[in-house]
Amino acid sequence: MNKKIVTRITIVSFIVGLMIAVQYNTVQNPTTRDTRDIWAIRQELSEEKKRHSELLSEIGTYNDLIKEYENNEKEQQANLLENTVEELNEQVGLTSVTGPGVILKISPALELINSGYSVENISPDLLIRLVNEIYHYNGLYVEIDGQRLTHTSAIRDINGETTVNSVPIRNTNVEIKVITDSYEKAEKLYGYLFASTFKDDFYLDNLNLSISKAQSEITIAPYDGKLPNQYLVEDNKGE
């Protein structure tokens, strides 16, 4: 092949390669325009900051724990471990807890019942939403109708009955106890729940939701079931 021709074709193929690469780039990662304004960015930043400080304090606690483990004598280490186990039990919900919090009461709306409406079950969807909001607004421990909520608790409909931890809610008056970190947080939670649409949502189901003011001492019973631990098990199928 003529040298000149080869150079020409090479240059053109270089351009073609460049074009294909640019096209590939454009198709694969389309540029998404950032449409947030300063305010939105500030809000996101403040959220991240909050998370940052939370994580830092968490790291601090664990560092302290590690130091304690390292510094103490063997006997004390056993004590420390016991303390940790107790703490974990408390977190999981195996011990009864006392603390500041809020009590919610769900009862049939009498004026509706008197005028002929039927008493309806509390819908599990609404209850789940309520619990999610409670956790979102710093609720630490929750008990619904005497049932302590744990990380594996299920609120669901079984044969037309709303159940918590697989125990149906039979009472027409249901009490929900919520414990928070501090009295201030309980007050905040009360304020939030009071201002939310939950009252109206429950009223749609002919139910009244009453929220008591923040209390300084509420006791929640431990979870009475067993929490199964599922460890990794070897699977011998392939042999």
């Binding site: 092949m1 074709i9 390669g17 074009m19 690469a21 454009t26």
Partner: protein
């Protein structure tokens, strides 16, 4: 023969590494331009193998085809007719034809070489 391939790889690498992007609006034009350019390259290779290669035809074809294709697409967008399909069809058909001709020429060459080799050994 390897130099054009090297150029192609070099261009691809450069484009991918620099992460250049064009606005999504012009994506269609670029895709047609790529097709036109590919058609020109294969046309050039074919012409070269058939010994009818002409510098002017090759280079003018490269730029003119790209401009025409992009222009057709542009016109199509503004008229509401998908004219770029015409360009894709034309270039697609030509691409296949050119590659088929190149393949045939290469096969013939290879066979000739084979026969020569056989004659030499006999």
């Amino acid at each position: 023969m390897w130099l054009p391939l090297l150029g192609l790889i070099l261009g691809l690498g450069l484009g991918l590494l620099t992460d250049i992007q064009i606005p999504t609006v012009y994506e269609n034009y670029l895709s047609i331009a790529v097709l036109a350019a590919l058609d020109t390259i294969f046309g050039g290779i074919r012409a070269n193998l058939q010994q009818v290669y002409d510098d002017k035809v090759f280079l003018s074809g490269f730029f003119f085809n790209i401009a025409l294709a992009a222009g057709l697409a542009f016109l199509g967008v503004h008229l509401g007719v998908d004219l770029y399909l015409a360009a894709i069809f034309a270039f697609g058909v030509r691409l296949f034809q050119n590659i088929a001709v190149i393949r045939r020429i290469l096969i013939t060459k290879w066979e000739e070489r084979h026969i020569k080799k056989d004659e030499n050994t006999v």
